[in-house]
């Protein structure tokens, strides 16, 4: 993904993922096999569950469901697409790069693909939570697994 995305393209990507999210649904298979984390917010309507199916240190499937604003829906949808098929190490690296970008630190844009549309979130600090709510849920699942593996 070129970093010279125009504002119009960035907006289009966010709106596409908000209006037609690909991963906003409950798991299609056996829900009990999925790890799930419920995230909600005191300040916003966000109230989502992130589902992740893991096997052999890999993210096999990821999806989410619930009520969420434009930014949280789009950022979580993009995240699910990015994570499917990644190993835990890869997934953790991507989450780390994404968080670095959100908090205006050095980051590697190559692994973030469409998620780089959230690069300016820090300018609207009140929305950082929206752009990270799904990612925080995933991170919790990865952390949890990390400890289980040990």
């Amino acid at each position: 993904m070129p970093i010279s995305l125009s504002p119009m393209m960035m907006r289009q990507i966010i709106m596409d993922h908000y209006e037609n999210p690909q991963y906003k649904h409950a798991p299609e298979g056996d829900v009990s096999k999925y790890e799930q984390v419920h995230m909600d917010s005191a300040n916003c309507i966000d109230d989502i569950i992130v589902y992740v199916l893991v096997k052999d240190n890999k993210v096999i499937d990821a999806c989410f469901d619930g009520v969420a604003c434009t930014i949280s829906t789009a950022s979580t949808d993009i995240m699910c697409g990015l994570m499917i098929g990644k190993t835990f190490e890869e997934a953790k690296y991507i989450v780390e790069q994404y968080n670095n970008m959100i908090h205006e630190k050095e980051y590697n844009p190559d692994v973030l693909d469409e998620a780089i549309v959230f690069m300016n979130t820090a300018k609207q600090a009140a929305r950082i939570h929206c752009a990270t709510i799904g990612w925080d849920a995933l991170d919790e699942i990865l952390e949890h697994h990390h400890h289980e593996e040990k």
Binding site: P7, N43, Q124
Partner: protein, 410 residues
């Protein structure tokens, strides 16, 4: 007639030309909190620089000065709402005040089959304390239906109240829809059924004349920071016989006469028995100054001013074709809206990028979506320093929003 441009000279947030996102700040979140004028700063500074010491049991002059200030606070607040000095309990804000009623009165006097009446338009602070009491003693919490517009009417109170009703807990002005409820009539109906009325005055006392004797409310709660006073200050008014009957929720230093090893304790008479622990003395200095400041401007003048600026705001906002206004006919200086096809929080973020402070979401009234059908709205709220230029800035921003997600890419 209030001239907000003159008024602004009293407020450091205006005098200092505070900016947000590179624009002059347009502050339209006054239902949330308000700016503080110089006299409030000066009063607090006075405590910090000249009168720092505690209250109670002062054997020296400084303490005596602060005890006098607390007495003055009760007097000034009492006069402001037409109550006796001894009926004024100093709290940290509306939330603490309502919790005192729930845990100090309802918990003691309500029984399993009793009922507490609320509305879905109430703020969390006027719902959750009652939920907790209901869980604890098994009494019922019911909701008085709102009318088509979202208003609480005396007729609807009459429709649902019964001999089982023991407490009617409603706001005089609701914090999202901004309707002024006919508390006097609702109090009358409540008393006919032998119940008491606990009025949430957080959004009314700063904006209109509130007279507890005229309204005949049993309890009135409000916050200092919404009427130009410091955060962490607030008031619980109660008819004195109720304060005498109620138990203190917090106990400890400063609210007792004596206690013994057999766990017996004698508390001070009300209102002091509710004021355990060191008071927010600095805040109380500020609160007294804030109320005096408001009185100098004149609460009736503030009410008139807000009515006019609201009319102006509504007429201007109606120029915007895609704007949905939820409370066009409300009386208070609160206007709640959404832009068709734009998520409320995206709209508020966009306004932030233009230096305009509004609030989006549920505004702590998390049951109101049962009424509006909207999960989130944007709320703008005014005060007596709000100018037509503030409204114009909001209207221009809304008109020229183009794509509201632009705030992300600026």
């Amino acid at each position: 007639m209030i001239d907000p441009k003159q008024i602004r000279k009293d407020f450091p947030m205006y005098v200092n030309h505070i900016k947000m996102q590179g624009h002059d700040l347009v502050f339209l979140d006054n239902a949330s909190t308000t700016f503080k004028p110089f006299p409030v700063l000066k009063a607090e500074e006075e405590y910090l620089t000249r009168f720092t010491s505690n209250t109670h049991r002062g054997d020296y002059d400084l303490c005596f000065t602060n005890d006098s200030k607390v007495a003055e606070a009760r007097h000034v607040i009492g006069q402001f709402i037409n109550a006796e000095d001894k009926e004024i309990v100093l709290t940290s804000g509306t939330t603490m005040s309502i919790n005192f009623i729930a845990h100090g009165y309802a918990d003691k006097f309500l029984k399993k089959d009793d009922e507490i009446l609320l509305t879905v338009a109430e703020h969390a602070s006027n719902i959750l304390p009652w939920f907790e009491i209901s869980k604890k003693i098994g009494c019922k919490v019911s909701f008085i239906p709102l009318d088509k517009e979202g208003r609480l009417t005396p007729e609807n109170v009459r429709r649902v109240i019964s001999n089982k009703t023991k407490i009617v807990a409603v706001a005089q002005v609701t914090n999202v829809l901004g309707f002024v409820n006919d508390i006097k009539e609702i109090a009358k109906i409540t008393h006919e059924f032998g119940a008491i009325i606990a009025c949430d005055g957080a959004q009314s006392v700063p904006h209109m004349k509130v007279d507890v004797k005229d309204l005949d409310v049993d309890f009135l709660s409000f916050s200092g920071h919404k009427l130009c006073g410091p955060t962490g200050t607030g008031v619980l008014y109660a008819k004195y016989e109720l304060l005498e009957k109620m138990d203190p929720v917090l106990v400890g230093g400063g609210d007792n006469v004596k206690f013994e090893t057999d766990a017996s304790a004698k508390y001070l008479p009300a209102p002091a028995k509710f004021e355990a622990g060191t008071l927010n003395i600095q805040g109380i200095y500020g609160l007294v100054a804030a109320i005096k400041y408001i009185q100098e401007i004149g609460i009736e003048n503030i009410e008139d001013f807000e009515k006019n600026i609201r009319k102006y705001a509504i007429s201007r906002l109606k120029e915007i074709p895609d704007l949905v206004i939820y409370n066009e006919n409300a009386e208070a200086g609160i206007i709640t809206f959404n832009m068709k096809g734009v998520f409320a929080q995206d709209l508020a973020t966009y306004l932030n990028s233009r230096g305009i402070a509004c609030r989006s979401g549920q505004h702590c009234a998390k049951l109101l979506h049962h009424f509006t059908g909207e999960l989130a709205t944007v709320r703008m709220s005014m005060y007596f320093y709000t100018t037509k230029e503030d409204i114009d800035a909001l209207v221009e921003a809304l008109k020229n929003g183009g794509n509201f997600l632009d705030a992300y890419f600026a």
